[in-house]
Each structure stands twice: as C-alpha cells, then as structure tokens.
C-alpha cells in the first residue's frame, strides 16, 4: 500500500516536472528550471512562471479533484459506474460558463467566465439538494442529478441554438471540450480555495464509505450518520468539480476510470481508494495535458477530447475484464 503511494507520488512528480519542460517555446530543460527557480525578468522566466507553472499546477490539482471525487462518488453509490458529473454540478457549471461567453461577459472581464461557472455550480448543487431532500437515499440523489444534468444540458443547447453570434458559438463549442491552455495564476488562485475545501470534505468520508460496503442499513447501525455523509459528499464534489469546470471546462472520464483502475491495488477499500485516486487522477491529467501538447502541437488538441479518446477504450477494456470474471 505504501509502495503504491510512493509509486503514484513519483509518477505525479515526474509528470509535473515534464509538464514544466514541454511547450511551444523551445527552452532547454536546464534553462527552463533556472528561469523558474532563479527568478529574473527575462522571457524564459515569464514563460515558466506565467504559462507553464499554472498549467502544470492546474492539471495536477484538477486531476486530483476528479480522481478523489470519482472515488468518493463510487464509494457512496457502491457502483463502479458512478462519476463526479453524476450530481449535475459539471453540467450546471458549464451552463454558467456558456452564458458568460454568449453574453459577452467573458470578453469584457477576464474572470467573468470562471465566476459565472462557479455561480452555475452553486445553483446546480442547491437545486440537487432541494430535489433530493436532506434525508433521501442514494437513488433520489442519482435521479435529482440526472434531472439537473439534463436541464443544464438542454439550456446549454438552447443558448447555442438561439445564438446569433457565430464567434460566441465557436468559442462555446471549443470551451466545452475542456482545456488548460492559456490559463494564468489568477485562475489557480480562483479555483484553489474551493478545491482545498472540497478535498478536506471528501477526505473526511473514508470511514463512512468503508462502512457502506455493508449497505446503508448496516452502516447506519454502526454509527455512521448517512444524511451528514451525503451532504458532505455533495458539497465536497460540488466544490472540486465546480472549481475545476470553471477554469478548465468539462473533462470527462478521469473521475470514472481512475478509481476503477486503482481499485484492485488498494484491496478495493473505499477509504484507501480516496487518496490513491487523487494521486492517480493528478498523474492522468498531467499525462493527458502533456499529450495534447506533444501529439498535435500546432492544432490545439483539447484536453477533454483526449481524456475521452483514451478513457473510453480503457473503460471498455475494464468492462471486458469484469465480464470475464463473472461466473
């Protein structure tokens, strides 16, 4: 178990360093590190501190968020097909961002888009809570999440449908594919507080999720307060997914595939899967963000497109493996 932690940490550290060294501005590795650490005002230091560092930090942070919230969601619902987008927060955050682009708010004010996306995420989570009720079971949460996702998706389509501004439509379509290109430290500072709060909430769920292995009734009888656990899960997921979607757009499959991949390595225990998936998610998103820069450097390949392209076949393979293990 500790070996897995070490391995994943090394992978994150290695990919993070690599992410700092790769980019369209060809800078020698040593020069780039010197620019980052040594300070100074030259163009190399600028590129490192204003472009590559925030990009690498955001990839690690959002990847960890997606992995952690995916593991928590799967543990709570006791279903390996659950993912953080299930409660409708990413859909409603995207709707907020789309409105910001369409209304021109994002063009007039740099933080207009992420702030609108955060507002959308907040609206989404409040609606989910109102629909699912404070004490309902996991089924009502799934149904409420599906309803909110469908509604947010339909409203996003409506904006695209009625938009008379082809540039906005173009921007919306590309934004929805998810990307970490051209993000600044400001984006990081905006997302960080929500993300840290969300991490703390989700990380506290370990014992409750373990107990849920025996079902809701048995867990409750072992002293787990299920309604509080559910509330913590919803708010934690909303914080990390809302903040992630606000700065990077919708990035799918990481929250679904990473917990599934790592589950056998932690003895399938939900509490141990939490931190493993956080590290695994960070590694996967760092790798994906490296890949979009290496594969088609001139064409701005979108991060969300790549994670889905890699994630879907990987997931099919996992399903195939699961099917073979069935009696």
């Amino acid at each position: 178990m500790t070996r897995l932690m070490l391995l994943l940490s090394l992978a994150v550290a290695g990919l993070f360093t690599l992410s700092l060294l790769v980019g369209p501005a060809s800078i020698a590795p040593l020069d780039s590190l010197a620019g980052l650490l040594g300070g100074g005002e030259g163009p190399v230091a600028m590129v490192m501190r204003e472009i590559r560092l925030p990009r690498a930090l955001l990839a690690a942070m959002i990847g960890a968020s997606l992995g952690l919230s995916g593991a928590a969601m799967q543990g709570y619902l006791r279903n390996p097909l659950a993912e953080p987008g299930l409660i409708g927060v990413s859909g409603s955050a995207a709707l907020g961002a789309v409105i910001a682009i369409q209304s021109g708010l994002s063009a007039g004010f740099a933080l207009g888009l992420p702030l609108m996306a955060l507002a959308g995420a907040l609206g989404g989570v409040l609606l989910v809570l109102a629909l699912a009720g404070p004490r309902g079971g996991s089924i009502t949460l799934i149904l409420a999440g599906i309803a909110i996702s469908a509604m947010a998706g339909a409203l996003t389509q409506l904006v695209l449908n009625l938009s008379q501004n082809p540039f906005a439509v173009n921007e919306i379509v590309f934004w929805m594919m998810g990307s970490l290109a051209d993000r600044s430290m400001t984006h990081l500072w905006l997302a960080l507080p929500f993300t840290v709060i969300g991490w703390a909430l989700l990380a506290s769920l370990g014992r409750g999720l373990d107990a849920l292995t025996l079902g809701e009734d048995a867990a409750e009888a072992m002293g787990i307060r299920l309604s509080r656990l559910r509330l913590t899960l919803i708010f934690g997921t909303a914080c990390v997914v809302g903040a992630g979607t606000a700065v990077a757009g919708a990035i799918g499959f990481v929250g679904l595939v990473v917990p599934h991949l790592l589950r056998p390595w932690v003895g399938a225990q939900p509490s141990r899967l939490l931190w493993a998936s956080a590290l695994g998610g960070a590694a996967m998103l760092l790798a994906a963000d490296l890949a979009v820069r290496v594969i088609l450097p001139e064409r701005d390949l979108k991060l969300g497109v790549l994670t889905a392209l890699v994630g879907a076949p990987l997931f099919l393979h996992l399903i195939y493996k699961t099917r073979r293990e069935m009696p």
Partner: protein, 250 residues
C-alpha cells in the same frame, strides 16, 4: 441488566399499521428467537427498535446517539451486501468501526481474529469476500457483527440459505454468546431450530406480540395453528425439543 427495552412500540407504514403496543425486555444471557409468518413485521420491529425507522412508543436503543448505540448493539440486516471485493479480514474489521480510532489497536486486531476464528474462517482470512460462496459470505458477515463486540446482537434471518451444518453451527455460536453473558435477538423461519436452540421465543402475528416465553409455552398447537396455519409434531426427547411442522391447515 436490561440490554433492550421496548415500551408500547408501534410502527405504521404508509397508513397501514404493521404492529402496535409491543412491550418487551431482553436481559443478559438470552438467545431470543423472533418468529412469525411472512409480513408479520419481524424486520420492521428490529429496525424500529434500533431507531432506523420512524416509530411511536419507546425503544431504549433508539434514544442513544449513533455511536453509543453502535457499541450497544450489532445489527445484521437480511440483505447480505458486500459492495466491493475486499478481503474477509477487511470485511470483519468493519465491525470495529464504532470503536476504533484512526489506527487499529491491538484490541481491535484481537476482536477481529476472535470473530474470524469463531466463525471458522481462519483459512479464508485473505480471500476476497465477494468470491466466497453464499454460505461463506453469510458467516463472514456474522463474524463482522461479532467483531463489533456488543452486549446485544440483532440478526435478521442470519441462517437463511445456509446448509444444515452451518445453520446448527451458527445457532450454537449464538447460544455460546448467550452463555458468555451476551444476548442475541434473531429472526428466523425454521421453527425446529428456534425450538431447539433459543432460550426464549417472541411470536409476532396479527399486528402484535402473540406470545413471549420459553419455546414450549410459545409453540402451543393452538397458537401454531392460529398464527402459522399449520399442524406440527412436538416432543421433548433425550435429544432435546423436537418441533416438526406437518401439514397446512385449510
């Protein structure tokens, strides 16, 4: 010492009264069988007594705060759910949830090992619980409840689906707990095993407790006919009490 005390407990689900006016006490060292036909409300009674279900009247367990209750009673639901492919040891360790601090103590490890040995699972400690047979999974879940190390164990049909040897072994495990001063409330449909192993039976039917006492006083021909609609052969033999259902009454 009273481990469970119900006073005038009533449950109404969707405007339909399930049972009402249930008053009973369970002391130390009892193996109590909760019997009654399908739909009599055995599961509902146990869940209400635990405070997992809305109810009228009083239950001494339902008023405890969740963590204190989890140290007073271990609950084995009828659904034998094991959501993830964890090892038997990890599964049984979940029983320590209400006791443990961040790290498992020696006392936790001892309780887990004792529960595993008790249910004869020592050879399967490292095996994946979801790949065991249904009967082995049932025993692993009983071990989990034993690891919780509570004065009272409540189990909803724990022996359903087990082979005869494991049914008897499980009832004897419960009887052993009762001899050691703990108590077990167990719902079951096998009246033969109930008559033979339980020190006391509670007969639930027609929305109330129809009888409560030693097996010989509860399983009278009249009550068995009235509540279950069957006839039965009963005898006190050198092998203990024998109860064999015979025919369905028209």
């Amino acid at each position: 010492m009273t481990l469970l005390s119900l006073r005038d407990l009533s449950v109404t689900l969707r405007d339909r009264p399930v049972f009402s006016g249930v008053t009973l006490e369970i002391g130390a060292g009892e193996l109590v069988g909760l019997i009654g036909p399908n739909g009599a409300g055995k599961t509902t009674l146990m869940r209400a007594a635990l405070g997992l279900l809305g109810h009228a009247g009083q239950s001494s367990l339902a008023t405890l705060d969740p963590r204190a209750r989890a140290r007073a009673v271990a609950w084995m639901p009828q659904a034998r759910e094991i959501a993830w492919p964890v090892t038997v040891e990890a599964l049984v360790t979940l029983g320590r949830t209400p006791h443990r601090a961040r790290r498992l103590t020696d006392a936790d490890h001892r309780a887990v090992t004792r529960a595993i040995d008790w249910m004869g699972l020592s050879d399967m400690r490292r095996r994946t619980a979801t790949r065991l047979s249904g009967g082995e999974q049932a025993r692993a879940l009983i071990a989990r409840a034993l690891a919780q190390d509570t004065p009272l164990v409540m189990a909803d049909e724990p022996i359903a689906g087990l082979d005869p040897a494991h049914q008897i072994a499980t009832m004897e495990t419960f009887a052993g707990l009762a001899r050691a001063g703990r108590s077990v409330l167990v719902s079951l449909h096998d009246l033969g095993l109930a008559a033979r192993h339980c020190s006391r039976l509670i007969l639930l039917g027609q929305g109330r407790v129809m009888a409560d006492g030693p097996p010989g006083e509860v399983l009278t021909p009249a009550l068995v006919a009235e509540v279950f609609g069957i006839t039965a052969y009963q005898a006190e033999t050198e092998h203990g009490r024998i109860f064999q259902p015979l025919e369905v009454l028209e």
